[in-house]
């Protein structure tokens, strides 16, 4: 009898468990349950959970909302393309557009303040990847995803795209500024 031959005994399921197998199954199952309950536990007690809040919308509507925010809160323009840098008030709704091959606009947030960050793609799939924090979120066209985010430390961060989006995928990088609170 071996694993490549049919079991020698007709009632092979009656063979008693070896102690080593039984013990291991109990240990492994316990660990599996701990890992399972860790996820709901973190929803209750942890601070890093991806939001379930998302709405279907269209690029036109989303573009309009983003433009309104940019018109109100632009503080300066950067790079050769004159991309607006937006400093929205703490606690407000902040909009970020992902499109081939650009994040728009550039956001400037305040340390320790909480924002409702809206993210959506205008065309293909993109990947929101905040570096060096290493927070990574998939960005879909047609799904406006709202993530409540609290920057913890003033610094210059980068947003890169980490979902393949065509030949200039590697140029789809932007900045996210976190500044000390005004007062």
């Amino acid at each position: 009898m071996s694993a490549i031959l049919p079991p020698a005994a007709k009632y092979w399921w009656k063979q008693p468990l070896d102690r080593v197998e039984g013990t291991w199954i109990v240990i492994a199952l316990t660990w599996c349950l701990i890992m399972f309950f860790m996820m709901p536990y973190w929803h209750v007690y942890g601070k890093q959970n991806l939001s379930n809040e998302a709405y279907r919308t269209t690029p036109e509507v989303y573009q309009k909302k983003t433009q309104e925010m940019v018109d109100k809160y632009t503080v300066r323009k950067e790079t050769a393309q004159e991309i607006p840098v937006v400093h929205p008030p703490a606690g407000s709704d902040v909009y970020l557009i992902a499109r081939l091959w650009q994040w728009w606009p550039i956001l400037e947030l305040e340390e320790g303040k909480t924002y409702r960050l809206h993210i959506m793609s205008m065309d293909w799939l993109h990947g929101f990847s905040l570096q060096p924090e290493n927070i990574n979120i998939e960005v879909h066209p047609g799904y406006e995803h709202i993530v409540t985010m609290t920057p913890t430390k003033a610094d210059n961060y980068s947003i890169i795209c980490n979902e393949f989006c065509g030949v200039n995928h590697h140029t789809m990088a932007s900045k996210l500024y976190v500044v000390k609170s005004a007062k």
Binding site: M39, G46, I135
Partner: protein
């Protein structure tokens, strides 16, 4: 139509080999190796481009090569080989003929045409660099989807030929009692393959219609949800297949029998019941799905498929340990392992595959599949790090070790370059393990996957990765090259052995007709198998394996909580 019932008896093992099945096993395995060769050359180009010091290819060529690498390795190499494994487990291990060899040839032809059409779309047309995943709304040429659909239909027919063979073997009473554990594992792979291919059809057929303009819109989230029912589950076919191969090699090399049939088969059953939920692994960072859905599915209900893998991880080396101890290597905890045939590539490859799959692939897979931890891993190069540990160190290396057994027994050729063959599993297995590990390291530092240039040349704004990330990528390239050398050695050995190796002839060899020589059905003794002899310590028949398993669990637990600790330091989100 007359049924070909001609067999030859394998002089090494005594198994009866059905002639039409043998031809089909050979052609599927050879085609698989050709796909591995193509995929391997492409792998070299990918490595030399992501190694920023060399940065070989321009962006468009890089993405094309990466797409073709993924498809040739993950789909064509592995599935052609798996079809050969299915035919082997269905016929040779059951002393049976293959059901409907004609349909098996039709399956082969469809798979071959599908593979060629898909490669044509990617590499010759060059307008289908959409990656293995081909996420809409980014579109490929219609022939890209058509090739995959043809291939899948072929693979589905092959699955049914295997299932038909099980029916034939049962009806013609070619074996007594239950099928062997290895065949049971192959059946598990086959069942998973059937619903995997169904998921593939549900998404790829509409996408094909979309590519020719018959459907105007395909939702990107729906695509990802259904596509991963195909994309992830197809990796679970590999897991079941290579676990079956592990058991087979343990039996071939050591005469090892399962510690208990019940436990090992139960673990395979858990795969069938729960593995397909894992589509969710890829959607944890997506909008539009609720946390409840994510948690239930990503954990395979309650990590029950992980439990199954942890059980196999114990019972495979456990079976080897018991076999070795019964042979007299019963001293201390690890004499059985020290005295194992480390120079035999059939064993060494299998054992490296087992360890690499568990420690590197298994643990990292659970990290990525944890809802919140996925936030710090999603789409970084950690992901390919994980699946090169599972699919390459795990599946590919297991299949490679099986080849060293199959060349003399099925191809009837002596192995060429036996000295090189001895080292091949180490070069490939350890190179690939390093490669995976360094990718995971770079991913932890945020380096993205599927990305042509981590220096962001030509971008308006650039991100500077830390020096450690660059170092990790360099080490990844170097260990990747070691694995390439190991892969090239495998190709050299197998291709030379199969085509110009010395033929093995058996004196007095003759073909037999199964009908004339069918084993009279013997009724099995109605007894319960006694437990193992007086081996091991403290009532544990395999104490060495148990210690290894506890070592594994400790690494798992530590790394799991290290990742939670890391997660707790990033910006609060909800």
């Amino acid at each position: 139509m007359a049924v070909n019932r001609m067999f030859r008896v394998c002089p090494a093992t005594g198994f009866k080999v059905h002639e039409p099945a043998e031809a089909l096993m050979k052609i599927n395995a050879v085609t698989a190796v050709v796909a591995l060769l193509v995929g391997g050359i492409l792998a070299l180009l990918v490595i030399l481009t992501r190694w920023q010091t060399v940065h070989l290819l321009p962006a468009d060529a890089f993405y094309m090569v990466l797409t073709a690498h993924g498809l040739n390795m993950l789909v064509f190499w592995i599935i052609f080989f798996e079809v050969a494994v299915l035919y082997f487990c269905g016929t040779v291990l059951l002393n049976s003929r293959l059901a409907t060899p004609t349909f098996a040839w039709v399956a082969y032809a469809l798979m071959l045409i599908g593979a060629l059409v898909n490669n044509y779309a990617v590499m010759i047309r060059g307008d289908s660099s959409v990656m293995f995943t081909s996420y809409v709304p980014m579109g490929a040429h219609w022939s890209f989807y058509l090739g995959l659909i043809l291939f899948a239909v072929g693979a589905l027919i092959a699955c049914f030929v295997f299932l038909g063979t099980l029916v034939v073997a049962k009806a013609e009473r070619t074996y007594n009692g239950s099928v062997s554990l290895v065949t049971f594992g192959a059946l598990t792979a086959c069942i998973i393959a059937v619903f995997t291919i169904a998921a593939g059809a549900i998404i790829l057929i509409p996408t094909f219609f979309w590519s020719i303009g018959l459907i105007s819109h395909i939702d990107s989230l729906m695509y990802r949800t259904v596509w991963w029912g195909f994309g992830h589950s197809s990796q679970q076919i590999n897991v079941s297949a290579h676990v079956a191969v592990w058991y087979a090699i343990a039996a071939i090399v050591f005469g090892a029998k399962p510690m208990s049939e019940k436990v090992s088969r139960g673990a395979f059953l858990l795969y069938i019941l729960f593995l397909q939920l894992a589509s969710a692994h890829h959607l944890l960072a997506d909008p539009g799905l609720t946390s409840n859905w994510k948690i239930f599915n990503t954990s395979y209900a309650m990590y029950l498929a992980v439990l199954a893998s942890m059980v196999h991880g114990l019972t495979v080396p456990g079976a080897i340990e018991v076999a070795q101890r019964e042979k007299g290597f019963n001293k201390g905890l690890f004499e059985w392992l020290r005295k194992a045939p480390w120079g035999n590539p059939v064993f060494s490859g299998m054992f490296i595959s087992l360890i690499g799959f568990g420690f590197l692939g298994g643990i990292s897979g659970v990290m990525m599949g944890t809802e919140q931890l996925n936030l710090i891993i999603h789409n970084t190069i950690y992901v390919p790090g994980h699946f090169h540990a599972t699919v390459v160190v795990g599946t590919t290396l297991a299949f490679m070790s099986l080849t060293y057994f199959v060349i003399p027994t099925i191809f009837r050729r002596e192995l060429m370059f036996p000295g090189l063959a001895k080292w091949q599993p180490y070069l490939f297995g350890l190179g690939m393990s390093g490669f995976s590990l360094f990718m995971m390291g770079a991913g932890t530092l945020g380096v993205p996957r599927r990305h042509w240039d981590m220096s962001f040349a030509g971008a308006l704004m650039q991100h500077e990765f830390p020096a450690t990330a660059w170092l990790m990528m360099t080490l990844m390239a170097i260990t990747g090259l070691v694995a390439i050398v190991g892969g090239a050695a495998y190709l050299l050995i197998t291709v030379c052995s199969v085509f110009i190796g010395k033929k093995i002839t058996t004196p007095g060899f003759k073909h037999i007709s199964a009908r004339d020589n069918a084993a009279a059905p013997v009724s099995l003794p109605n007894v319960v198998v006694p437990s193992h002899g007086n081996i091991g310590t403290a009532g544990f028949v395999a104490p060495g394996t148990f210690v290894l398993a506890i070592g594994f669990l400790i690494s798992f637990v530590l790394y799991y909580f290290v990742n939670w600790k890391y997660l707790s330091t990033v910006w609060p989100l909800n």
